[in-house]
């Protein structure tokens, strides 16, 4: 060894083995899962990561080998994302979601939920009164396709039939999956639209409420309000609740983007997004339940009281699940 040998070169010769080892482990982790590592390797990874970081600092301060610094930067970054990445098992994370994250997120949005419920309710009342006083409004409030022949010109007998008519068994599942994917897309849409300062989300909710009110007025004018209630709420409790929650999540984002308070707009938006995202993920699950109820239960159960019983029990279950006080989890 020459006396004049550079320190940066000796440094590299000493550390290179560890870098290569870290690189090999990372390549395996990125290709498959962390499960392919032995316990020993798993324990070695954070240590090697810190070594790489310290090497990077040393190299930046003492070495002028550009490619070496680039290599160490890329290696440390890859290792950083692994070491600080989420690695909880899927089952554990799902348990955590149902046990804590989802209900807590819904509870956290109670103000927005009330607002979005109020908009839907007011719109429903307005829709009801408009159509009650002048059936001509019906065509303006209900989009053509949705009515499917249920409009003021229809006979009472036809309207009654639509409430108890059952489709072929095979097509029930198709109906359920269609309704689910359609409604879930709308809920995600309501969430995304919140970014435009809440207004489009409010429109979407109001439109939903108006349609609801208009239908009620039409059926009530033929003395079928009670029956319509059973037909609608057997799945509607879950579905309307889900859409109201979707709107609430949108409102949170729009409100925080418009009025960030003490934070920067960007920070406020990120915070609101994280608070609202579990709600939307949950809303998709609720809509699966709603789709099943609408596609199967409503078509198979034609007794009004049974329908109301299911409606009320779903309401109790959802409210209980979301809003029962539970013990605070210690932050882990």
């Amino acid at each position: 060894m020459k006396e004049l040998q550079l320190k940066s070169r000796r440094f590299r010769a000493e550390r290179e083995g560890d870098w290569r080892r870290l690189e090999g482990l990372l390549a395996r982790v990125e290709r498959g899962s962390a499960k392919s590592l032995t316990d020993e390797e798993l324990l070695a990874l954070p240590v090697l990561y810190r070594q790489a970081l310290s090497s990077l600092s040393v190299a930046r301060a003492t070495s002028l080998d550009h490619s070496l610094i680039d290599y160490l930067e890329s290696l440390s970054t890859r290792a950083y994302f692994f070491v600080y990445g989420a690695r909880a098992g899927l089952r554990q994370r799902l348990a955590q979601f149902f046990e804590h994250t989802w209900p807590a997120a819904v509870k956290g949005l109670w103000r927005e939920t009330l607002a979005s419920f109020a908009i839907t309710a007011v719109a429903a009342i307005v829709g009801f009164l408009l159509v009650w006083n002048d059936p001509g409004w019906f065509g303006g409030l209900v989009p053509g396709g949705l009515g499917a022949g249920r409009d003021p010109t229809a006979t009472t007998r036809f309207l009654r039939d639509t409430l108890y008519h059952s489709e072929g068994k095979a097509s029930l599942a198709v109906l359920a999956s269609y309704l689910f994917s359609h409604n879930a897309q709308i809920a995600i849409f309501a969430f995304a639209l919140g970014f435009a300062f809440c207004i489009p989300t409010a429109f979407l909710l109001a439109e939903n409420g108006l349609t609801l009110g208009a239908f009620f007025a039409l059926f009530a004018s033929r003395g079928l309000a009670f029956q319509l209630g059973g037909w609608l709420f057997i799945h509607g409790v879950t579905e309307l609740f889900a859409i109201i929650l979707g709107g609430a999540a949108g409102f949170r984002i729009g409100w925080r983007v418009a009025f960030p308070g003490e934070k920067t707009r960007l920070d406020a938006a990120a915070e609101a997004g994280r608070a609202a995202a579990p709600v939307i993920a949950g809303v998709v699950l609720m809509l699966i339940v709603a789709g099943l109820l609408e596609g199967f239960a409503r078509q198979l159960i034609t007794n009004d009281y049974a329908r109301y019983a299911i409606a009320i029990s779903t309401l109790v279950i959802w409210l209980g699940y979301f809003y029962t006080p539970r013990r605070e989890r210690r932050p882990s």
Partner: protein, 306 residues
């Protein structure tokens, strides 16, 4: 933080895409954010993959329904086709909403398109990339992609109905703002990124190449540079020289070698090879600059007097 800041200001000016990103250990990783072009290219790739997947799903569902039905009785046919209908409906929903979410939740935090372009998603605050963040950033695609697309598809209305046409145009302008959002901020954040607190960074996989000093070792004896000669340049020129040596392009090496000889007043011997000369000079220059570095002098370039 301070050490990193000092070295950044002392070194060559950082390129505009570099962002400070300090790990909990206090080291700045100097992440580079993905450019708008790369992001767009990654998205187009993903869109193509998605489209192919949807087409395959559709073909599979319709073919298998037809093939199975032809085996069985007519009553079975209705059942089967409805099963395929369900598979298609749910499959389409999962593809549209799940493709991005599921891929970004793997250890690489990137969809296939991003992976091809060497990009990945990361939390802006340096923390973990949570499921909520991934979900939120991709739910926002609803207004960034699908809403403008709806208005674009509706633009045919304008031909028959002038008022509707104006409304569609307004809608297109409005939603175009969401789609082009990344162009109007420094970090190229999508609407989804702002809401999720994420950004998209480059994650290249650099290989550790050989230390150029190893190559120089053999020839070192032939060349003896004086302190003045070895100190003619600064760090910026050293990096250029490193680049030239790694590329090994004979023409460039000859030109660079001549420039250096001229500058330091080196007389070329008859048998002297350009690459050996450059390698030896690289070793001498780096040795000199690194020694000075240890004493706290970082000579930026040849105009830097220090």
């Amino acid at each position: 933080m301070t050490a990193a800041g000092a070295s950044t200001s002392a070194g060559a000016a950082a390129p505009p895409e570099v962002r400070e990103f300090v790990t909990p250990e206090g080291v700045d990783l100097r992440l580079r954010i993905g450019g708008a072009g790369e992001r767009a290219a990654a998205f187009i790739l993903d869109a193509v993959f998605l489209l192919i997947a949807v087409i395959v799903l559709t073909l599979l569902a319709s073919f298998s329904a037809g093939a199975l039905a032809s085996l069985g009785a007519l009553g079975l046919k209705n059942n089967l086709s409805s099963v395929m209908m369900i598979v298609w409906l749910l499959g389409f929903f999962v593809l549209r909403n799940g493709y991005f979410v599921l891929f970004e939740f793997t250890p690489r935090a990137a969809t296939p398109g991003k992976r091809i372009l060497g990009l990945r998603v990361a939390a802006r605050d340096g923390g973990r990339l949570t499921a909520e963040a991934v979900f939120a950033r991709n739910a926002m695609r609803e207004i960034e992609v699908f809403l403008p697309l709806t208005f674009l598809l509706a633009s045919g209305v304008g031909a028959t109905d002038p008022i509707g046409g104006w409304l569609v145009l307004l809608g297109l302008l409005w939603t175009g703002g969401f789609a082009l959002f990344p162009l109007f901020n420094r970090d190229r954040l999508r609407v989804g990124d702002t809401v999720a607190g994420t950004w998209v960074v480059k994650s290249p996989r650099e290989r550790l190449s050989i230390d150029l000093l190893d190559a120089q070792q053999a020839a070192a004896g032939q060349f003896a540079f004086t302190a003045d000669q070895a100190g003619a340049y600064g760090i910026k020129e050293l990096y250029v020289l490193e680049d030239v040596l790694r590329r090994k392009d004979a023409k460039t090496m000859a030109a660079v070698a001549d420039r250096i000889r001229g500058k330091i007043g080196w007389r070329k011997e008859a048998a002297e090879a350009d690459d050996a000369f450059l390698a030896a000079y690289y070793g001498a220059l780096r040795g000199r600059l690194e020694t000075r570095l240890l004493f706290g002098h970082r000579r930026r370039d040849k105009f830097d007097a220090a």
